[in-house]
């Protein structure tokens, strides 16, 4: 794993991010725009799973209607995230906050494509139940954790 970060730190992307006056700031701002949209989508889908909003709409339809927006914002966050990481790749590799963020991100994505999806399919026919509420609560917690750990990278 370390070799990937070494390679990233020697890449043209890293050179550009370090030397450009506005490169880092602009990429960081786009990362935040992605956060706004991704966070909004995750919030709406998970509040529906918790049975708090849009109760008469099918959870599956809501998730389906927002899935492309979710994937697009996730792609923007991942691409800008790689560029931001490249600027200080080795520092990130050793940062506890960065490691927590990647761990929570992996968990959030894994959860999203497995249990979360299964809960959505079930809640299509039923009102919010223990299963869906659990999926919504775990998903919100994981994504919030990704955000908090991400914010901590610059502080610790």
């Amino acid at each position: 794993m370390l070799s990937w970060f070494v390679a990233l730190s020697h890449s043209w992307l890293s050179q550009y991010m370090q030397q450009s006056r506005w490169g880092f700031a602009v990429v960081e701002a786009v990362h935040l725009l992605g956060l706004a949209v991704l966070g909004g989508v995750v919030l709406i889908v998970d509040l529906r799973l918790l049975g708090l909003i849009l109760k008469t709409e099918s959870a599956r339809n809501i998730a389906h209607g927002l899935s492309r927006t979710l994937l697009a914002s996730l792609a923007i966050m991942l691409l800008t995230g790689i560029a931001l990481t490249s600027e200080e790749a080795l520092k990130c590799y050793h940062s506890p906050a960065f490691r927590w963020k990647m761990l929570l991100l992996a968990a959030a994505l894994l959860f999203y494509f497995t249990f979360h999806r299964a809960a959505l399919l079930r809640t299509d026919k039923y009102q919010a139940n223990l299963w869906s509420r659990l999926a919504g609560a775990v998903s919100l917690t994981l994504w919030l954790g990704v955000g908090v750990a991400g914010r901590a990278i610059g502080l610790l």
Partner: protein
């Protein structure tokens, strides 16, 4: 007038509370993190209503249903952003006063406030005629594009404050 505002900024900056936030090890960072997370509540939810009116997401759900769902979240986000943003300003007021990114952000905030005022007193008055359309009328789409652009500008300008 500008001297008066600058004076107020300096008073806030020099105040005990402003100094505390600025000099504490964690206060500023924690408030800033809350400010950033609230973006999701405010901008994330209003963006979904905008995208719905543009026919990008949830075309099968009526505009009023989405609006009624997101407004409480949007307003909660607004309250959190306003309070946390004011605290951040309190700590840095004298520095923010002359900061070009901060000034641009304030102008954009003023404009983004006008947008819903116009929207709600015009095309949204007749929302029941078009709430089920997959693509909203052009006036609503214009308001949606204005909202998305202005909020994006506010986020970018807000982030840039730290770089000046």
């Amino acid at each position: 007038m500008s001297h008066f505002i600058q004076h107020i900024c300096q008073l806030l900056y020099d105040s005990q509370f402003g100094t505390y936030i600025r000099e504490s090890d964690y206060a500023f960072s924690i408030i800033e993190s809350i400010h950033v997370l609230a973006i999701t509540l405010l901008v994330g939810t209003i963006a979904l209503l905008d995208l719905r009116m543009l026919g990008v997401v949830l075309r099968g759900v009526s505009v009023t249903r989405i609006a009624r769902t997101v407004f409480p979240l949007t307003w909660s986000g607004f309250a959190i952003m306003f309070v946390s943003g004011f605290l951040l300003f309190w700590a840095e007021a004298a520095k923010n006063y002359g900061n070009p990114a901060f000034r641009i952000k304030l102008v954009l905030l003023l404009l983004v406030g006008l947008n819903p005022l116009i929207f709600h007193t015009t095309i949204y008055q007749r929302v029941h005629e078009w709430e089920l359309l997959e693509l909203s009328p052009w006036r609503a789409r214009a308001a949606a594009i204005a909202s998305l652009s202005l909020w994006s500008g506010i986020i970018v300008a807000g982030r840039m404050i730290a770089y000046f």
